[in-house]
């Protein structure tokens, strides 16, 4: 359940923002999660409810935006969609891929009051 630790990290960042931005309550938390990362969105949503309960974000809705996987195929020399790891380039089947996108875990923005 590293999603718990991730949510603790999120709450920490939100607390930092409160210092800088002077708000009283968080209504919405927007995160970007890469489709090929190790974060399970359902587990993250569950953990967020638990971890945020006693925080400034207790009432906040969590919005999870998924970032699709993209990679560079060294054989095709072009950027390709990577819907899943270990399946290779959808065009040529090569596994010589350099991941470009899809592992994000980013706190994107907050809706605050």
């Amino acid at each position: 359940m590293h999603e718990m630790a991730l949510c603790q990290g999120m709450i920490g960042l939100i607390e930092d923002q409160r210092e800088l931005q002077d708000f009283a309550v968080v209504r919405r938390v927007v995160v970007e999660i890469g489709a090929l990362g190790h974060v399970d969105p359902d587990a993250l949503a569950f953990a967020f409810d638990v971890v945020a309960a006693d925080s400034i974000a207790a009432e906040a809705a969590l919005e999870i935006r998924e970032i699709p996987g993209r990679g560079w195929c060294m054989d095709c020399s072009e950027s390709i969609d990577v819907p899943r790891r270990g399946e290779g380039c959808p065009k040529c089947g090569s596994f010589m891929l350099i991941m470009e996108q899809g592992e994000e875990m980013r706190l994107k923005e907050l809706e605050v009051a």
């Binding site: 590293h2 630790a5 960042l13 790891r85 875990m105």
Partner: protein, 267 residues
């Protein structure tokens, strides 16, 4: 912006490139927001604003990891983060490696487990200093735990082994400041481990295939395991080892020497 006084409530800037958008109001009627005392705590909906953050959720961990990395570099320490599922043979292999290494190179170990100091005790029996970190409910080591532990382990110009919690999922995401992640996959597991837990194999520089002395007794295809690992990470190095027969141990120690030479050269 308020139509009357021109104040720009909400247009502050956040550290790291972040601009804060003003609240999306349909129109700013004169004197609506800031000039009327009542509107200061008016209707909650119209009071909300958007704060751009754009920070990695693990940015605090990554910050401490970067600190650890520069600390290791200054001390001439090669830090290796050993990861595997429970029971793959991390500790046994580590004990063997320390027996070979520690008479020619200073070594130290940070042991991560949810509970008990059993593994650290096994390591200390080799004479190498070891520090146990019990993560309690946690399923992985993080950079701060390593930071705190390393201050208790005086080590210079040597190798720091960080034995992570036995778990192929969570430790993949937490940078500890190590030079390399080394994933250990035993031949008593499935050949498809890399496909089932791709993030860890993607993050590792080296895969040690352990317990290869058992191969004659098993229906296990080592080449399939290696092919699966390279489907996830084409650049991963592979060494087959056995802590029972010492097969491959010399190659593993050579890999450590090479990694150490590179770390020292880049200092």
């Amino acid at each position: 912006m308020c139509g009357v006084c021109g104040c720009s409530e909400g247009e502050t800037r956040v550290e790291h490139e972040t601009a804060v958008q003003a609240p999306p109001r349909e129109a700013d009627p004169p004197g609506s927001a800031c000039c009327e005392a009542s509107s200061m705590r008016a209707d909650e909906e119209s009071d909300t604003r958007l704060v751009k953050v754009e920070q990695d959720i693990l940015s605090k961990n990554n910050h401490i990891a970067a600190h650890n990395r520069s600390h290791f570099a200054k001390a001439g320490v090669l830090a290796l983060n050993l990861v595997s599922s429970p029971g793959a043979g991390k500790t046994t292999l580590l004990v063997k490696s320390l027996e070979e290494l520690s008479n020619r190179l200073p070594c130290a170990v940070i042991e991560g487990d949810q509970e008990t100091s059993a593994d650290a005790d096994r390591i200390r029996a080799t004479g190498a200093p070891a520090l146990q970190v019990n993560t309690g409910r946690g399923c992985h080591l993080d950079a701060d735990m390593v930071h705190r532990a390393f201050h208790h382990l005086p080590l210079e110009d040597g190798v720091l082994f960080i034995e992570n919690v036995g778990n192929l999922v969570c430790p993949a995401g937490f940078d500890l400041g190590e030079a390399h992640k080394v994933v250990i996959a035993s031949v008593t597991e499935g050949e498809d481990k890399p496909l089932k837990y791709p993030n860890m194999f993607a993050a590792a520089s080296l895969m040690l295939v352990s317990k290869v002395d058992l191969l004659p007794h098993l229906d296990f295809d080592v080449n399939a395991l290696i092919a699966n690992a390279r489907r996830i990470n084409p650049g991963i190095a592979v060494i087959k080892v056995s802590a029972t027969t010492n097969e491959g141990l010399d190659r593993w120690l050579q890999w450590i020497d090479a990694a150490r030479a590179m770390a020292v050269a880049a200092r």
